[in-house]
Point group: C2
Chain length 178, copies 2
């Protein structure tokens, strides 16, 4: 037996990323779950950002951004970056994060996040309350401490977490299934 | 210390969904991780599908699809639907899945999946090896057995799972963090 609900954003579980972007005054960070890999070659990601958000203007102006993947230990900082506005807050300073220059983009990486994905915006689309930014991945950086002896990502060290929009909760990863 | 890698689809962890779609011969199912909520209102999702995949033609023809969210117990069926082609295989039958008519779309729901999201394609874009389908959510169904006494989704009953593209592994969810 199924119950029918109003249409909503029910795809789950979602990634949680910290998007960092350059700014004329200071760089900013925004937490985003409306994000995905959508094309393998060229590697392409999309993010949905509300036009009212400070970072929307910064990404539009800069034309690039960095997707930083936080660890479980950085959950509170992710919540902070998702609820305060960069118009009034220096989120790098408030989170104790370090801005590291990008290698291929103008936007800075967050040093403390174990994975950084440099992205160049290819196209923007109006969808509704969110705009869609379609961006090509131009570089990926992973902390040495998150790699195994063969140089491959060790997810149990990375400890990424997920967001479930239907309930508004964050969950850790559990065990390797396959 | 960070190590730099070639550009790749490194956003993680990703949702894993079974996309079901109507077909003139028979309906089909394809497993997809290139998927996300991207706009809250109207609720909008995107999926990336290779033009070579059988379901690409079916979604283009039908103009709608259903995003079905599987449980951990359905992982092997998800792998099957991601590796066999609907050109030669009746994946509903091979998985023991039941096609239930959509309430707002022509494509069928998968009865055995605990969450079904009916979607109508709004726009298609060429990105590279994957095309992007942008679709509006028009109905959401959740199994009664996955709801708590207040009628809200209980994620610990649903047991969704995630995919980590950098390693090619599937992970369960662990514990509620916040």
């Amino acid at each position: 037996m199924k119950r029918r609900f109003n249409p909503s954003t029910a795809v789950l579980p979602c990634p949680v990323i910290l998007l960092s972007v350059a700014g004329s005054e200071r760089p900013n960070i925004i937490t985003i779950s409306w994000v995905a890999n959508v094309c393998s070659a060229p590697p392409t990601v999309v993010v949905g950002i509300r036009p009212t958000r400070h970072s929307h203007g910064l990404v539009t102006e800069t034309g690039d951004f960095v997707v930083n993947i936080p660890s479980e230990e950085q959950l509170e900082k992710a919540v902070l970056c998702g609820t305060r506005s960069g118009r009034d807050h220096d989120k790098f300073t408030e989170c104790g994060f370090t801005a590291v220059p990008g290698t291929k983009v103008k936007s800075p990486l967050i040093r403390e996040c174990p994975v950084n994905i440099e992205c160049v915006v290819q196209q923007t689309m109006k969808l509704g309350v969110h705009d869609l930014f379609i961006a090509e991945v131009v570089a990926v950086h992973i902390a040495e401490s998150m790699l195994d002896e063969r140089g491959r990502l060790d997810v149990s060290k990375l400890k990424p977490f997920t967001y479930v929009p239907l309930t508004g909760h964050y969950w850790s990863l559990g065990s390797l299934l396959k």
